[in-house]
Amino acid sequence: MALIDLNRREIHCKIVYYGPGRCGKTTNLFYIYNAVSEKYRGKLLTIETRGERTLFFDLLPINLGKIHGLDIRIQLYTVPGQSHYRATRKLVLKGVDGIVFVADSLRKRREKNIESLLDLKNNLKEYNLSLEEIPLVFQYNKRDLVSANIPLLTIEELENDLNRELKVPYFEAAAIKGIGVFETLKEISKRTVKYVARKYVFSQTQAEAQGGII
């Protein structure tokens, strides 16, 4: 649930990085954390197991400047990717305003990507949301491994597996090197803020209309 705080003149939105285990969700957040100056970001909070796997979530608050005199504050969350953490992922999705689906380009992870997208769809459904409605972008990560001779899925295959019907923007990335990280963030932020603003305006006009009827 986005929050518009007219007292502090801030808009708060929640963006969740979703995807299968070890696809690079936390790596995205780490890169953003290290690249953004302290003035524009808060503390990076991580809840992980000893083996550096996300146990609950990571959180990175960032400031994206102003729109119509309101400060845009975005909270970036990741979910634990491993399939047995489904209940935890659902909790993190509570109140989500935008989603980055990070897909693993490794050929052997093909099924995991598809499974994770289906899991996302089912979890959203429980909050009465759908992939078609919520702001969403894909990030096809680990594209740099092509030069290491590791079998990767082609962009066409990834698009066909995941984005055939949704047709949302996608970004090729190598999150560990920062390639595509900010392009992804920029696009999802833009879409999310637009979505939140539209919902706000819609609820205002609806309230006014209802007031008019009464």
Partner: protein, 132 residues
């Protein structure tokens, strides 16, 4: 789940309730958050506490505990309490979407905090859900 808008007047009213009912009995910090982990209003001495992280963790903690309740066949655990050496923290659900986080030292009896929190819960909920 829509977008929640809080106006300056609303923040002042919420803050007044937290001040008069909770800070008045010696609570160090009271934070009203939503279930997504946003801080709606905070009152008291933040004293270097990272309220953004605290809100995210509190919401997640509450969510996780609610799932544990379901596993046990309970509908919800509406109150959570953690005791520390110096500070204690108390979480209460306010309606369906909000959580009141209260931090207090050992000098304040838990019973008094629980009583006051119960008393203000409905008042806060009314303020949060009424239309301007």
């Amino acid at each position: 789940m829509g977008t929640m808008v809080v106006t300056t007047e609303k923040v002042k009213e919420l803050q007044r309730v937290l001040d008069n009912q909770l800070l008045a009995i010696g609570v160090s910090l009271a934070i009203l958050i939503d279930e997504a982990g946003n801080v709606i209003v905070a009152a008291g001495n933040e004293n270097g506490v990272d309220t953004t992280s605290l809100a995210a963790l509190a919401a997640a903690n509450f969510g996780a505990t609610a799932q544990i309740a379901k596993l046990l066949g309970e509908e919800d655990f509406s109150i959570l309490y953690h005791k520390g050496k110096r500070d204690n923290i108390h979480f209460t659900k306010i309606g369906m979407e909000f959580i009141l986080v209260t931090i207090f030292t050992d000098e304040i009896p838990l019973g008094l905090v629980r009583l006051r929190v119960n008393q203000v819960a409905q008042e806060l909920l009314n303020l949060l859900t009424e239309n301007d």
